[in-house]
Symmetry: C2
Subunit: 294 residues, 2 copies
């Protein structure tokens, strides 16, 4: 009776490649039309190894599409005022169209006033109150955080119609869960947001046509949690050491158990990750294009 | 087995009275300390009878707590530019601490650019992108739309602990459903937002510890939809004509059916309505107090 479902992998890498190629064309066109090269400034404070990998990867991709990249690597000892001053300088710099502060910041720094001091028109991470509010109000002309934007694009590609589907988002962060809820609401889904205080996450998951997991808890979601045929988007990236002492990336979903239950699923790695970076490039070219229009 | 539940009425009128008395004291204190009288400007365009009732009621309450009220009643023929110019003047007027544009506007006017042109520091309805974003990001120092703020206050009074409860909000508007979801998320609830495209609203309602209904559909929610002992907040205000040709207000919940099922419920009228106006006064005194601090 319970024939296992033929689970289809969602190829984030291929999707990101296509997006990136399109951004590359748009960059070339903008340069041809206006002489302007889009520029992305990335600020990294301290020496967190994972953040360094992310930042290096972002820089590499930025160059690949023909954009300028401005890397600001600040020492662990940077003060709040110094960081604030740097954001102010980048706000005023006409060569910088997007500003990204790599999170988390060292503990002695308060991220929020820093993030909120970024000009909304350069806030390619979509984290200022103005851009968050635009999204909440359903105005799609602000900047949308890259990870939920990427998840939405993948869902739009994979599902012919989102309207009316039941979506569960596990994780309620400002960077992912909350903007994801707004995007899916705007798309007509019935949206539930579960989090650390939720009492019946498993039961809620079993009712979800779309299951999006962004918790940072490795393999939290078991196969038995997944509704037959559901579309599963795994946003988690967790590093584990295998028995032969290699580093392996695993998601927030027990992938092997999900296969045969989910209709479609994003793998880790190769799912949401590459699309997130493609969305950052997408937001940056948008910022440069808007800058030209103003 | 199914002993009917002793349903308790949530007395919004009494709650609003207490809130209003507190605002009155704060207004007197502010005048004593600074000589400043908080002022609320209300803009009404056209002759919608329901809007006229609301606006009159707001003005009356504003005077009751010792605030100034500036009523701007514009003709149906007002242009977008004229309305925009008025908002600009009120933005600059030091006697005006709060600005409210009564919705809906006549059809030839586009409400959104008007709302977005209100200074965030005078946006006592919490509808600008900046204030909506503040709420989304969990920063509680912006202005929160009055109706969901009132619902939250009622819930906080009625339920000892919101954290971990399952809440269903039916209706996903910018004025009510969306900010309500943010408030309940911030309070630790597991939140589901249902709307016109939702396929299984009844089933979702049956799982909800907290059920908030803001649809404008009279008596949409039947008694059978309500989980035993749930707390029900009815935001609907629908006018019906009774058999003896009197106007009667009814809610979005079939009240008579809900009694015996819900643990607590707000009546219509006398539930959410008065608290909404009290929250408007609360936001306005906050605006005046912040203005003094700046």
């Amino acid at each position: 009776m319970n024939t296992p479902i033929q689970t289809q992998l969602i190829d984030g890498k291929a999707f990101a490649y296509q997006m990136t190629e399109q951004v590359k064309k748009n960059v070339a066109q903008l340069q041809k039309d206006t002489g302007i090269t889009p520029g992305l400034a990335v600020i990294l404070v301290g020496n967190d190894p994972a953040s360094e990998v992310y930042v290096r990867n972002k820089t590499k991709q930025t160059h690949k599409v023909g954009m300028r990249s401005f890397m600001h690597m600040l020492p662990e000892t940077t003060t709040q005022q110094e960081l604030f001053n740097l954001v102010q300088r980048l706000n005023q710099d006409p060569d910088v169209h997007g500003i990204l502060v790599q999170l988390p910041l060292p503990k002695h720094l308060d991220p929020d006033p820093i993030i909120q001091s970024i000009l909304p028109s350069k806030d390619v991470d979509g984290l200022t109150a103005y851009n968050a509010g635009k999204l909440t109000l359903g105005h799609m002309d602000g900047f949308i955080p890259c990870t939920p934007l990427g998840c939405l694009m993948l869902l739009q590609q994979e599902l012919p119609k989102l309207r009316g589907l039941n979506a569960l988002i596990i994780g309620a962060s400002n960077l992912m869960g909350k903007p994801m809820a707004q995007l899916l609401l705007n798309a007509g889904c019935t949206v539930t947001i579960a989090h650390i205080d939720t009492r019946n996450t498993e039961e809620l998951a079993q009712q979800a046509d779309i299951l999006i997991v962004a918790t940072g808890c490795k393999e939290l979601v078991k196969g038995s949690w997944i509704k037959n045929g559901a579309t599963v988007i795994d946003v988690g990236i967790n590093r584990v050491i295998t028995s032969d002492k290699k580093v392996k990336l695993i998601g927030d979903v027990a992938f092997d158990e999900a296969v045969g239950k989910a209709g479609k699923i994003t793998p880790v790695p190769g799912g949401v990750g590459p699309v997130t970076i493609a969305c950052l490039l997408y937001n940056t070219i948008q910022a440069a294009q808007k800058h030209v229009k103003e």
